[in-house]
């Protein structure tokens, strides 16, 4: 299983970044071993469509679960069409997010919860 957590820095102790499309880093974490790899978000300051790129990139990594604070409408439609489970967590570290996920205490994000930005 692969869990993507949005993070401010590429570390398990870093705070979770609350914005999916415009987070600093995507951490791909194996929740059993806590091994992870990270991807720099090259689209953090894109004028539009950052969420589309973030979804394309993380889906390409083969993630099963996304843990973040908010997801825009375009990213949500891509993630849900690929059956990625989206969980809400935005105050605490990446490690705490994974622990909360394992304990089953995270709520689902069942619809886009950020207005997103449709270009210029």
């Amino acid at each position: 299983m692969k869990i993507c957590v949005t993070a401010i820095k590429p570390s398990l102790e870093a705070p979770v970044d609350p914005h999916f499309g415009r987070c600093n880093y995507f951490l791909m974490v194996d929740p059993v071993t806590m091994d992870f790899k990270y991807i720099n978000n090259r689209h953090v300051s894109a004028s539009g469509g950052a969420g589309v790129q973030a979804a394309q990139e993380t889906i390409g990594e083969g993630i099963d679960v996304l843990i973040t604070g908010s997801v825009g409408p375009n990213a949500y439609s891509l993630l849900s069409s690929e059956n990625v489970t989206i969980k809400s967590f935005c105050s605490g570290s990446v490690r705490e997010a994974i622990e909360a996920y394992r304990s089953g205490s995270l709520e689902n994000i069942d619809a886009a919860n950020s207005p997103g930005k449709h270009g210029l």
Binding site: H43, A46, S47, G48, G49, A50, V52, Q53, A55, Q56, I59, G60, N74, S77, L78, S81, E82, H118, G119, L120
Partner: protein
């Protein structure tokens, strides 16, 4: 002669200046390029007639031909195409209509289709001396520039065209101001007015368009706009006072030159000043 009326800050009086200038000249075109909320007609009250739809080209995918090579998604600078493991997904509202994806697709699986994003309307007064062209962007559409560019195709070079620009300094303002002979920047003597004026000045300087400032609600706030213009050698073309009578006329949708003849003269003087600056530069 093509004159854009712009501002950094919103609500400074662009429409007031554009409409009053047109009426004072007696014969002019007004192009309301603030297509997200066109409002010139509040002061003109014309019956508007639809001229045409504004359409942009957006991609459509023939998924039978698509091999998921992903070149279209890599190419798209506006992130309007996503390549997923088993499909390509298109986001028409992010598309800027450049057509690059149709060119790069090796399977010719992407074709372009027209999509309507707004409309152009026209109205005029009884003796047809002041013509209004108004663009309206459909609700929920993000891209104003194609509507503005199509609106500007209606400019009649033989008369004075006055462009009422949207506020700010983003794409829609660039589209409104590009190619104009002169730009009037309307501001107000407040900290916000100055902050946004400075940004607007940076834009018109970079576009190499001659410009001057109109200070609206003069008397409100302080002298910071005057100080800035003096330091930067920017001409202050007109000062419209912070005046109750003007505000009352505005609230009734009456252009104040119609009730205050002296202002007709003032706006004609403003136009003379603009003509001189433009001809001095070898323009119209």
């Amino acid at each position: 002669m093509k004159i854009a009326v712009a501002s950094g800050k919103g609500g400074t009086g662009k429409t007031t200046v554009a409409v009053n200038l047109a009426i004072a000249l007696g014969s002019a075109q007004i192009l309301d390029c603030d297509v997200e909320e066109p409002n010139c007609n509040l002061f003109l009250g014309y019956d508007l007639e639809k001229q045409e739809d504004v359409e942009i080209m957006v991609p459509e995918l023939d998924s039978g031909k698509c091999t998921l090579c992903g070149r279209c998604a890599d190419l798209c600078q506006y992130n309007a195409i996503a390549k997923l493991p088993r499909s390509i997904r298109l986001f028409p509202k992010l598309c800027h209509g450049c057509g690059g994806c149709t060119l790069i697709c090796p399977e010719k699986a992407i074709i372009e289709k027209r999509r309507s994003i707004g409309l152009i309307e026209k109205g005029t007064n009884e003796n047809c001396s002041i013509e209004l062209f108004q663009g309206t962007l459909d609700i929920g559409e993000p891209m104003a520039s194609p509507v503005i560019r199509q609106l500007q195709a209606h400019i009649d070079e033989s008369t004075v065209a006055i462009i009422d620009s949207p506020p700010g300094t983003a794409c829609s303002v660039i589209a409104s101001v590009a190619g104009m002979d002169y730009c009037v920047l309307v501001t107000e003597p407040t900290p916000f007015g100055l902050n946004d004026l400075v940004l607007a000045v940076e834009v018109v300087r970079q576009m190499n368009i001659p410009f001057g400032v109109v200070i609206n609600r003069n008397g409100l706030g302080d002298g910071r706009i005057e100080d800035y213009c003096r330091t930067e050698s920017i001409p202050v073309l007109m000062r419209i006072p912070f005046d109750r009578d003007i505000a009352v006329l505005y609230s009734k949708g009456i252009p104040f030159v119609e009730a205050m003849p002296i202002w007709k003269e003032n706006f004609r003087e403003l136009y003379k000043h603009i003509s001189k600056s433009v001809s001095y530069r070898g323009g119209v």
